[in-house]
């Protein structure tokens, strides 16, 4: 009887996770092996045809390639942007640190619609940025950023920057100041100390942040829909289009499973990278 107790406590969560998490994933896997039918929508089958289409057709390969390239680019920019910012927070005075932390967390409380709206005001064709550029005489006609690849990058960067900066910050804050004093006392310069001590010790945060940003961008639906271009299709909107407009449930299933596979692969890669580059974080 005693042994059953924890499982009783787990019952409510199980009632959510089993029907709403396991079953949908199983259904997606099943769908991906079924066949789309013009009359009966989706019919039972066991075929790899959907996967073959998704992984060999130029259009679908381009969609996944686009998403991967976008995710890699946004993650890289976010990483480079977040390092000095997180470092600044660690060295700032108590008051500044609190303000900067608030700034970093504020976007998490503001709706994504409002943030996209803000970017439309800034980078739209008649937006603030174009007004300034035109007035300064730097360009003759408005630069098109919104509804282009660039606009999507900016929107994604704004949406996912906190997910990069926060884990990085927590890694940087854990570094023992004595190590840095020791390094400087032993004659290493600032650059060398940063490269040989701060950088390696912050790898767990950097990898965790990169993983969160990469996976987030890869499967994001809202930003491509509201800020992107149809000439640069990405995975999530394309899957939605396949399922809703084209009613190709089986193909959408295969695309979804490929996307899920990519996300899992990234998580596994990040996990093993942390285990290798920062063995001290493992279970001791």
């Amino acid at each position: 009887m005693r042994a059953l107790r924890p499982w009783l406590w787990l019952l409510p969560a199980g009632c959510i996770v089993v029907p709403l998490f396991f079953l949908p994933v199983l259904f997606m896997i099943r769908n991906s092996f079924w066949r789309d039918d013009p009359v009966r929508f989706i019919v039972p089958d066991f075929t790899f045809a959907n996967y073959i289409t998704v992984l060999s057709d130029g259009y679908y390969l381009k969609v996944f390639g686009n998403s991967l390239a976008l995710a890699a680019l946004v993650a890289l920019i976010a990483l480079v942007m977040a390092y000095p910012y997180a470092q600044l927070i660690t060295v700032a005075s108590e008051r500044t640190r609190l303000i900067l932390l608030w700034v970093l967390c504020l976007p998490l409380y503001v709706s994504i619609i409002m943030r996209v709206f803000g970017w439309i005001i800034i980078i739209g064709d008649t937006g603030l940025l174009n007004q300034l550029l035109l007035k300064a005489g730097l360009v003759a006609k408005p630069v098109r950023i919104l509804f282009e690849f660039e606009g999507m990058v900016i929107g994604m960067l704004h949406r996912y920057f906190p997910l990069m900066a926060l884990p990085l910050l927590s890694s940087l804050q854990k570094i023992d100041p004595a190590l840095l004093r020791g390094s400087v006392n032993l004659g290493a310069g600032r650059v060398r100390t940063w490269c040989c001590i701060v950088l390696p010790l912050s790898i767990p945060g950097a990898v965790a942040g990169t993983q969160l940003v990469f996976a987030g961008v890869l499967s994001d639906y809202v930003i491509p829909m509201l800020m992107g271009s149809t000439r640069y299709p990405t995975s999530a909107p394309t899957i939605f289009l396949e399922a809703s407009t084209n009613a190709s449930w089986a193909k959408a299933g295969a695309m979804g499973i490929v996307l899920l596979g990519l996300v899992l692969l990234i998580n596994i890669a990040a996990g093993s990278l942390i285990a290798r580059a920062a063995p001290w974080t493992g279970k001791a």
Partner: protein, 266 residues
Amino acid sequence: MNDFLARLPRLLLNGYGLLVTAFILLPMALPVAVAFTSGDSLTFPPHGLSLRWFAAALDNAQFMTGLRLSLVIAFGSTVIATVAGICAGVAISRYRFRGRGMVQAVLLAPLALPAIVLGLGLLFVLPWFGLRSGVVATMLGHALLGLPYVLSMVLAAFSNYDPALERASLNLGAGPVRTFFYVTLPLVRGGILAGALAAFLLSFDNISLSIFLSNNDTLPLRMMQQMQSYADPSVAALSTLLLIVSLGALLVIVPYLRQQAGKRPG
């Protein structure tokens, strides 16, 4: 760290910090300014001051029904996720049993699942339970998204929790039920509140799951439709009102959370 990095070119670093801060804050501040425009366009600076777009937003029947619906969905899914998250937190942190690590990993796994995959799969699961797209389906889907957040916050709260207090309560004659409600729960109250807050915000702002589970009538979807078809400042006005409400709520909750954290034993 301080004495070492204090010697870095601080001016450069500070300037950079200001730049990134502007990058983060500007897109959230500009809609507030544009909401007060008297013109019809989304340009900044606004043409004259007026409250007409606030009136337009509050008069928009689609916004108001969407708001009501989103509040119901967010509230319901938060309650479900919080109850399930607390119970799972108790199981994982208060008991040692086989498969404990696995259970924790499984309950946190929805974090990694792309919403688009989940939504598409749920469309096929719903008929099994006699459900169709709508309030209940959306509420359940959002509850799944909120669960990992509540669970991780509750687990964090339990990690600085002294089980001796629970034993003391039991030894002093309080039954297990009373002990749970009067000792265990109050001690992890901060974690529960933080988790519930995250679950509520997640549901209230959700788009990628709602496009599958709702009838395209939740508030974020209504705002998205408005933006795609009209592009007038009413979305900015409504966002500004919501921002004021959520920041107000935050100003009440955060000091409370801090007070709870301060009270925590040990």
